[in-house]
Amino acid sequence: MQASSSNLSNRAVVLILAALVVVCGIGPMVWAISTSLKTEVDAVSAIPTLIPSRITLSNYLTVFTHKTFLIELFNSVLYAAGAVAVALALGIPAGYAASRFSFPAKRAVMLLILATSMVPGVALLVPTFYVLDHLGLLNNRLVIVIILAARIAPQTVWFIQNFIEAVPIEIDEAAHIDGASRAQILLKLVLPLIRPGIAAVAVIGAITTWNDYITVAVFAPDSAKRTLQVALVNQVFDAVGISWSFTMAFALISSLPVIVMFVIVQKWFIAGLTAGAVKG
């Protein structure tokens, strides 16, 4: 009897602590949503409230009708989609070769990929800016796509390599005997088998590049080339004119694609996060 009542109270403590964790975790986002639904006056009231006295969607409408919103959205989509496309186009053959071929220079190539993954973007800000400036390539959309693609390329190669390693090599061998070329084997046989993996790696890459601020802010400062993330940060710099309800609506809209992607692939996302780190 005593054991079960202490179990019960243990259970209650666990539930309370779990609630605390979840509230701490998502409470700030609830606040952001609440602020985005407030009127501009309510958002700066001396006594902050979680539930707006008047709920309004006008902030969201203002975001969508904001004069630069569409171009920023376009740039965000272009950079993220472009970078993922480039990374996949280059990473899939490399991942396949890493899994299936062995040749003398392979070790050197894999080492290069590992080494570049350890070079932080921060350390390359100054030299990259210098070079782009001298080549007249600042504010160039293609350059941004390429830089972002290089950022996600190493992880793309490793993920694809791991996925392909899970595909039995007998499939390749059988097709090879039937006269299929390497490219045919990869495109027609192997790729369809690892499609979910490719979707996951694409989404993780898209989230990374969509969320980037520094690359675009430094290498494409032109207002016509900037992304939603850059526009968001610029609102914060505008210390006098900031409207919190508008900014929160803007922040949430700019996060929406990431949230949707996360919900769709959360299983793989978590698997991807844990794959590297957990080892007994």
Partner: protein, 278 residues
């Protein structure tokens, strides 16, 4: 080799070439974005003998250490708690993980609003408790602590998810053995869970350490490196040096300091986990 060529070309051009270039830059006399000839170690001596560099390094280390301790503590705690809740816990973990996917720009903006000294809910709450919140992020004494708090809020779910996976990979038999010996949850935690978590916590700490070392955007949004340089880390200084471009030689040296620190952490990570991807 042909299959690798495109990705190798990309990495050579975008990563390796600028890496070599920044090394060369660090030995050049510079003014704004002009390179004016070889000066040997002058930039290094400039940087390493300036008190500002050591203050910035100290801030970086304090920021990294503080954020690591706090996010690991909360993350492990959250993992242990939610792991008791079965399916519900799984759902709650997914919900709690979602801030980790948000951009630094969004995280920074939301917290700037929460921590606003005049009409933010946190200052209001503190006032209700009879504590004068002061300038919050504008307070040189508080700014670094609050930045650490925000960073940990963003990164603890990552710790939680990975530690949970590690907890779930522990064989059930070990817990049963402790039970047979009459041990309670304390004994299980101490003799089974904890020793199994140590390697995972180590690799998570390295991954996050690299993130915190190179993180800039959150600092740009929350404090802009201020107030009075209280949150100016090495990475933030490199960002400022790049966009202000008064003299890029010393900025190149700082870039290399970060690069070397990152490579050391990265190599330790690779050795420790035997894996290459984070």
């Amino acid at each position: 080799m042909l299959w690798f060529t495109p990705v190798v070309v990309l990495l050579l051009a975008v990563s390796l070439y600028p890496t070599l270039f920044v090394i060369w830059m660090s030995f050049q006399k510079t003014r704004y974005y002009d390179l004016a000839g070889f000066v040997g170690l002058a930039n290094y001596i400039d940087v390493l003998t300036s008190p500002a560099f050591w203050e910035t390094t100290y801030t970086s280390l304090a920021y990294m250490a503080g954020s690591l301790v706090l996010s690991l503590a909360i993350g492990v705690f959250a993992a242990l708690i939610l792991n008791n809740l079965g399916r519900t816990g799984k759902l709650l973990r997914v919900v709690t993980l979602f801030p980790w996917t948000l951009s630094m720009a969004v995280v920074g903006t939301v917290w700037l609003s929460l921590l606003n000294p005049s009409y933010g809910p946190i200052s209001h709450f503190l006032r209700q408790l009879g504590i004068e919140p002061g300038l919050m992020l504008g307070d040189p004494e508080l700014a670094l602590w609050l930045t650490i708090l925000v960073t940990s809020w963003w990164s603890f779910p990552y710790v939680m998810v990975i530690v949970t996976a590690a907890i779930q990979s522990i064989p059930k038999e070990l817990y049963e053995a402790v039970q047979v010996d009459g041990g309670g949850w304390r004994a299980k935690l101490r003799h089974v869970t904890w020793p199994h978590l140590i390697p995972t916590i180590g690799s998570v700490a390295l991954t996050l350490g690299i993130q915190f070392l190179t993180l800039i955007t959150l600092l740009i949004v929350l404090t802009g490196g201020g107030p009075l340089g209280a949150t100016t880390t090495l990475s933030f200084e490199v960002f400022r040096g790049t966009v202000q471009a008064v003299n890029i030689g010393p900025t190149a040296v700082l870039s290399l300091v970060i690069l070397i620190a990152n490579i050391i952490l990265g190599v330790v990570y690779t050795r420790l986990t035997g894996r290459v991807s984070a």
